[in-house]
Amino acid sequence: MSGADLTQLDTVLEADVGIVGAGPGGMAAAARLAAAGVRVVVLDEGQRAGGQIYRQLPVGMHNHGVVQEPPSHDDGHNLIQSFEGHAKDGGEIELVRGATVWDAQPGRLWFEHDGVSRLLRCGHIVLAPGAYDRCIPFPGWTLPGVVTAGALQVMVRGFGVVPGKRALVVGSGPLLLPTVTSLLGAGVEVVAALEASSRMRALRAVPAVAFHAARRREAMWYMKQLWRNSVKLQWGWTVFACEGDGRVERAIIGKVDAHGRPRKGTERTIECDVVGAGFGLVPSIEVGMRLGADTHMLPVRGGHCLVVDGEQRTAVATVFAVGETCGIGGAEVASAEGELAAAAILRELRGTTVASAVVSRARAERRAADSMLGAFAPLPGLHDLARPDTIVCRCEDITRLRAQEAAAMHGDSMRAIKIGCRAGMGPCQARICGPSLQAMATGVNACAMDVPVVQVPLKPVSSETILTAPQ
C-alpha cells in the first residue's frame, strides 16, 4: 500500500480555509487571506500555480521560443508573485500540486495526491475550479492533431511543445485570440483564424471592451499581433470537417449563418496539420454541486453555473465560489471575486469589514464580462456540423445517430440519452460531450440541457484511494 509509509499527520491536512484551484480566483483569495495571517491550503491539479490562463512551465523548464503575452498577463505575474511569496516555506499558503479533488463535504475535501489518498479539513472552502473546453463535434474532430484551445495552451505554454507546422484556429469568443498568439509564439504558422460569430453579432461586444480600459488595451494588443503576423480573423466562418490519413492533413471550412448553421456551397479546403478548436468554455461545477450549492442556467456564462450571493457565498454558509464556476467571465472576474470571497471570510474570522470598493470591483468586472460574452453565446446551429455517423461521445464511441435513437426510445432528458446508449458514461462522465450531447440527440437548443448528475468520485481516482480515504 503506497500510503502505508505516510503517517496520519501527512494524509490529513488542516487549514482555516481550503481552496480548490490555483488560477486567478484561487490565487487572489489565497493571497488576501494569507496577508491577513489566515492559514490556507490550495489544491490544484496542475504542476504550478497560475491555472489555465496564467499557465507556467514546470520548474526548471524554459521555452526556446518567445511566447508573446498580452498586457493583462502583467496582472497575472503580480498575482503569481504575491501568491508564491506567501506559499514559500513557513508562509501561510500551502499549495498542493497535482491534487485531484474527488469528494467533498462542507469542511472536508478528499483528494488524491501522488497516488496517496488525502483529506483536507478546513473551516471555509473557496471553489475556484475553473472551466472545461466546450467541444462541438464535427466530422473528423477525433483525428489526431485536432485539439481544443485549452489543450493547445497546455501543450504550448505548459510544456513548451510545438504541436505542428501549419495551424487552423476555429471557434468562437475571446479565447480564439490567445490561441492564435500562443501558436505564433511557438513558431507555428497560423493559416487561418475563423470566428463563427458574425461581425455584426460581435459588434455587441464593442461597448463592453471600449469602455473597459484593460480590455480595450488587451484587444488592441491582440489585433496588433494578428496584423503583424498577417493573420486575418474571418467572421462568420468555421470548420465543417477535418480529413487525413491517421491524422489531420486538411480541413474543410465554410461560412455559417447567424445561428451558426453551415451554409452549403461555401466550402473550401485548407491544408493544415493542427486544428485548434475553441468554442468557448463550460463552468466546472461538480465540486460545488457535491457540496450542496445551487445551480442555475445562464447561457451567456456558458451553461449551468453555481449560484452565489453578493459576497460569493453559495447556499452552503461555509462554501464560497469564484470565477468560472459561477459562470464564464475570465481572469479579471475571477481575481476580483476571489478577493471579495476572501474579504467576506475575513469578516467572519477577523471581524474586518468588506470594503465597498472590493464589492463594486467584482460587480463591475462581472457586468463587463457578461456584456462582452453575450456577443459570443453558444451558436445552436453549430450542432448541425455533426453528421449521423460522427462520434459525439469519445469515451464510449457513440455516434450522433445512436444518441438520437436513444433519445427517441428512452426519453429526451440527458439521463435518458446516457442510459439509452451509454454516451457520457465513460471516464469523462459527460464533462466533454455533455454540453452538446442533449442538443444533438434531441434537436433542442444547446442551452436547455439538464443539470448534470454528480457522482463520486468527482474525477477518476484509484480504487485504493477510495478504500484508504481518511475520515
Binding site: G411, A416, G420, G426, L467
Partner: protein
C-alpha cells in the same frame, strides 16, 4: 385525451420491457400495447444494477426459472443483439472455512440439476484468470452464466417488439396517476398525458409496485427497496475476463433476509464481492445489500468493504481508476421469490415484480410467463410458486 389499448404495461424497466417484448411475440400484431414509465426507459433500477445472468441451482423450481431465463437471454442476443451479451461464465470464490465448505455443495447442486460445473485447483484457477490472487483456497467455475448491459437490453427488446408489432407504443416521462374502474374490473389507466381505456394492466414497477396497487385500493404487496452500492472502473483496465462472485453471495444476496425490511435504520448491511468484466474493458464492482428506504446516497463504508474484498481477490484492481459509484434499489420481496401473474382481487390486473438481485437474469422468463398467461397459452414452466396470490388476503 382518451385513447384505448388492449394492454397497458406500467414500468419501463427490464421487466416491463421484457413483458412488452414477449406480448408482441405471442399476440397478433394488431394488439395495441402501451408501455408507460414516469421517467426514462430503464431509468431506475435497471440502469443502476449489475448485469448478471445467473443460474441458481438450489432447487429444481429455482433452477427451472433461472436456467430457462438465461437460455432465453442467449436467444435474445441472437435475435436482437446490441446489449453487450457476454457469456463469461461465473467463477465462485471461497476464502472462509464456511465458504470453502460450500464449494462442493454448490458443485453437487449443479450436478443434481443435470448441469455441469468444475471445482478448480490453484493451477487451473490461475490458468483461467491470471489476474486473481495466488492464494484463493476454493473455486468453482460454472460456464452457463453471463453478463449483459441491462439498459441497452431494455431498449433492444422494445425495438424488437415494435418491429414485430407496430402498435406497440413506448411512453417515457409519462407517470400513471390513477385508474378508472368498472365494478371490480379496471376500465382505464389515467396518466399525465392521457386516459387509456383498457381492461388489462401489468404492474412492473419494481420497488414502486406497491404504490401502483394502492391506487387501486389494494393492500401493499410486500416488496421493499434493498440498496446496493456499486462502483465501475475506466476502460481497458479490467484484470479479469470472467465474472467473479464470492460464494457467500448466494447465501447473503439470494436468500430471504433475517432483517425486517421495514426497519430502515436498523440494517447494518452486508456485502459479498461480485465483479463483472465489461466489453469496453472496464470492471463493475459490487455488491452490497442494505434496507434503508428509498435513499440513493452511496454508503461509503459499505462500498469500501466490497472494494476491500475486490482487492483481496484481484489485487490489480486496486490501482484501477474508479470513474463512478452509485446506489441501485433492488425490489426485494419478503419471501425472496418474484411476483409473476394475475392479482386476483382485481380482474385484469397483473404483477411482474419483486425480483431483488435477479431481475436481469429473470426478465425473459418473467415476460414470457406473463405473456403466455395473458394469451391463454400453457406456461413454459410451472408459474404456481410465483403467483402474487400468495400475498392476497
Amino acid at each position: 385525451m382518451t385513447e384505448t389499448a388492449d394492454i397497458v404495461v406500467i414500468g419501463g424497466g427490464i421487466i416491463g420491457s421484457s413483458v412488452v417484448y414477449q406480448l408482441a411475440q405471442l399476440l397478433d400484431p394488431s394488439t395495441r400495447i402501451v408501455l408507460c414509465d414516469r421517467g426514462p426507459i430503464a431509468g431506475a433500477t435497471s440502469s443502476s444494477c449489475m448485469g448478471h445472468l445467473m443460474v441458481t441451482p438450489g432447487n429444481a423450481q429455482e433452477y427451472a426459472l433461472t436456467k430457462t431465463s438465461v437460455d432465453l437471454w442467449r436467444g435474445l442476443h441472437e435475435q436482437l443483439g446490441g446489449f453487450d451479451y457476454n457469456p463469461t461464465g461465473a467463477l465462485y470464490l471461497a476464502e472462509s472455512e464456511e465458504d470453502i465448505e460450500m464449494v462442493p455443495v454448490l458443485h453437487q447442486q449443479f450436478l443434481d440439476q443435470g448441469d455441469q460445473a468444475e471445482i478448480l485447483d490453484q493451477k487451473q484457477l490461475r490458468d483461467l484468470e491470471p489476474g486473481l490472487a495466488h492464494d484463493i483456497p476454493g473455486a468453482l467455475f460454472y460456464a452457463g452464466d453471463g453478463v449483459v448491459l441491462p439498459m441497452l437490453a431494455a431498449g433492444a427488446m422494445l425495438r424488437g417488439a415494435q418491429q414485430r408489432n407496430p402498435n406497440v407504443v413506448v411512453r417515457p416521462n409519462c407517470a400513471v396517476t390513477g385508474f378508472q374502474r368498472d365494478g371490480d374490473r379496471i376500465a382505464a389507466v389515467v396518466t399525465e398525458k392521457s386516459v387509456i381505456q383498457t381492461n388489462t394492466v401489468v404492474n412492473a414497477c419494481g420497488v414502486w409496485t406497491p404504490g401502483i396497487g394502492e391506487m387501486l385500493g389494494q393492500p401493499r404487496v410486500p416488496i421493499y427497496p434493498r440498496a446496493g452500492n456499486l462502483a465501475i472502473t475506466g476502460h481497458h483496465v479490467s484484470p479479469i475476463r470472467t465474472q467473479l462472485l464470492e460464494i457467500s453471495y448466494l447465501r447473503f444476496a439470494h436468500a430471504a433476509s433475517d432483517v425486517d425490511p421495514t426497519q430502515t435504520d436498523r440494517d447494518a448491511g452486508g456485502h459479498a464481492v461480485n465483479m463483472q468484466p465489461q466489453t469496453n474493458g472496464g470492471c463493475l464492482i459490487g455488491s452490497t445489500r442494505q434496507f434503508r428506504g428509498m435513499s440513493k446516497q452511496v454508503n461509503r463504508e459499505l462500498l469500501k468493504r466490497s472494494l476491500l474484498r475486490a482487492h483481496r481477490y484481484v489485487p490489480g484492481v486496486a490501482q484501477a481508476p474508479i470513474i463512478r459509484s452509485w446506489v441501485g434499489l433492488r425490489p426485494y420481496s419478503i419471501d425472496n421469490h418474484p411476483l409473476i401473474g394475475p392479482w386476483d382481487p382485481v380482474p385484469g390486473f397483473w404483477i411482474a415484480a419483486g425480483h431483488e438481485g435477479l431481475g436481469i437474469s429473470m426478465a425473459p422468463i418473467t415476460g414470457l410467463l406473463i405473456a403466455q398467461q395473458i394469451a391463454g397459452i400453457t406456461p413454459s414452466i410451472d408459474p404456481t410458486p410465483y403467483l402474487p396470490g400468495r400475498f392476497a388476503l
